[in-house]
Assembly symmetry: C3
Homo-oligomer: 308 residues x 3
Amino acid sequence: MKKNLKHLIGLQDYSTKEIKEIVDLGEKISLSPEKYSNKCHGKILATLFYEPSTRTKFSFESAMLRLGGNIIGFSDANTSSVSKGESVADTIRVMSFYADIAVMRHPKEGAPKLAAEYTNIPIINAGDGGHLHPTQTLTDLLTIQKYKGSLENHVIGLCGDLKYGRTVHSLIKTMARFNTKKFVLISPEELMLPNSLKRYLKENYDLEIIEVRKIEEVIEDLDILYMTRIQRERFFNEEDYLKLKDSYILTKDKIKNAKKDMIIMHPLPRVNEIAYEVDEDKRAIYFNQAKMGLFVRMALIMKLLEVE
Amino acid sequence: MKKNLKHLIGLQDYSTKEIKEIVDLGEKISLSPEKYSNKCHGKILATLFYEPSTRTKFSFESAMLRLGGNIIGFSDANTSSVSKGESVADTIRVMSFYADIAVMRHPKEGAPKLAAEYTNIPIINAGDGGHLHPTQTLTDLLTIQKYKGSLENHVIGLCGDLKYGRTVHSLIKTMARFNTKKFVLISPEELMLPNSLKRYLKENYDLEIIEVRKIEEVIEDLDILYMTRIQRERFFNEEDYLKLKDSYILTKDKIKNAKKDMIIMHPLPRVNEIAYEVDEDKRAIYFNQAKMGLFVRMALIMKLLEVE
Amino acid sequence: MKKNLKHLIGLQDYSTKEIKEIVDLGEKISLSPEKYSNKCHGKILATLFYEPSTRTKFSFESAMLRLGGNIIGFSDANTSSVSKGESVADTIRVMSFYADIAVMRHPKEGAPKLAAEYTNIPIINAGDGGHLHPTQTLTDLLTIQKYKGSLENHVIGLCGDLKYGRTVHSLIKTMARFNTKKFVLISPEELMLPNSLKRYLKENYDLEIIEVRKIEEVIEDLDILYMTRIQRERFFNEEDYLKLKDSYILTKDKIKNAKKDMIIMHPLPRVNEIAYEVDEDKRAIYFNQAKMGLFVRMALIMKLLEVE
């Protein structure tokens, strides 16, 4: 097995400089994607989705095709035969002959990390259970840099399920490394950011954290409002879900006092946590955010394949 | 969103001239497909099949690959994750960043039309419920032009389920625009062409319509015999299905008095409505028809992507 | 339909010379695969998997992409719509317009053979029920040639389920044609090689066959040790399976008296029939074997498409 080979399991393994390089390359690609249309000619990306996620799979596949490469993959371990009792280690060892780089989504925490130990091709974690999903965070970072001009010194509001939301935890930990000025945590009491994470932030970074219950209380102050879905499957009972699900719906009315250049982000898919009327607002950039996901994945594939 | 952008939702939105242009380009492609092998280099087609249809999906994928483009897609909304409560509008908005053109099959009438309103890439309707399936009709038109020399002045027999058959309704409405001489409708009483459609034809076109029960009564008169399947799922009860399903099976014997240059068409898949013995007959061109489907889809993709 | 067209249904249809040519081309490709990266530019491979087999599908897809070609396909007849009552003959006739070559896996014995009769594109059998799986045998042959220098004069040990194992039967019959010196059959009594096959070998070839119960009895004598899985689904009752499944597990200890240049092969996936500790041993080449599968499939596709 090659030494020094770089996978992307979680952003905690990457230096701030390395993250910034990927984001910067993503931004360069976003300006003229056609210049990169042949960078991975002859290379194959394998998309190993042990759990379905059409959107994420598509974004990686499109990224590789836009680089001139090719794709193979499966979208569901059940309709594939990969679950015949074979270990993930054996599967990935064989797959590494068929592809030059692999993206893995797996219901079990740690599966992509394990896979990376048994292969000599780069592995990208595209979500392992409720654990990590680093390319979503890279997408968010490129979006912030592109639409706010820089990653630094922002007041960032995060709204919704801050307790279980993997996307939010990863974004907070990563943005903290880029001199975030203030995190404004907006959530129901039941779904507040875990204390361990708050403690970690206070001990390691010089930034402000405030917690509120309502978007309206803090909207004027925000540079970025990051909305998330309150997922039914995170609740222990239906009653709690029904009580809370509609409390954190963004409407035109709720953003009427927001800054003119505030940006509204969302990892998508949205269900009803942002009213359709908000889509028309210039500050609503969540669809552009999905587009940035394409460019940052192109950048990541290039970095891992050491293509210039 | 771009203005003036062309989708293909249904052929009723296209002028006769526009339809003819696609058919003519399809015919040109059929003569030397290799000349078109690089026309869509670098372009991506997304096949969004919310309901499986392997054959249609394959024909579009092959068409795009034969043009030098690439493909991404899913073949079943259940094993994909697109049904997580997200609207079709949101899904298509995101997909439009990953692809340059999309083909959609959806169990709900109107879904492709809705999708077209929310995207800036061309959308092709590959079947929406029992409603429209315009590329089948384009396939039929190219087949008729190729094997009968022209689209005009034919006596066209249509046999089978004329009541529910989406393919037949669309073909009749479109061929009527190309100066069809006569439609000969061959069906059991229970599955006759809807009166509303007959009325529409009589009010708008100068053509003859006759209705019969048996193929043999009219076979001598036909330039084209279009066979269709009597689908079990269209019947309210099993008894009716069993009584009727075998009544409209084409055999060698039934075509013995047909014109030498009559062509026998079928949209495929066939189950048992055409006996295998008929396959040997030169007039049986239903497999060639499937081939024409490839060429007309290549033509359609080129037109919608404005590639010359 | 073209005459003289070559499919690969089973290796019994190929001359020893033809087999050797494919293996030799596979070995040449293995030395510098990049030289072949454009051999099938513009060609399409259809992977028709009526039963899932991710690994086999991937190896064919990767082979075609590595040759510069493209792929379409389905991985499960249930989520596809190919099972709508249409005959395999009709399906393949249509598919042959969409692709230049097709790989078929089907639960029913003989389905690929039938398909080959109805198409003018080459058909490769990628497994038809418990019947044939010729590209696994080609993979094994290339591995033997590559790692033992030649296909001839070996003492080959075969261990595990020799009664039902399709892979083993095909390998034995094919290697017998290449002057194998001795077959050493290692299996529980319940899973011995069928008498009919033993008789066939004795009547047609000048080679030795011995049968034993334990790996340790014969390990010193072997040039090649071919391990196979004892599949739960082959047993009539759970009790028999539990009793036998662990008896034929290869460990470091069991190979301590083996020749230094013996090779250990396995068709993969393995479950527990080879202990993980054996992976470290230089003689364990089963992962390289999977890699050879890629090269031999590239060679096969080139031969069938008559690409030089």
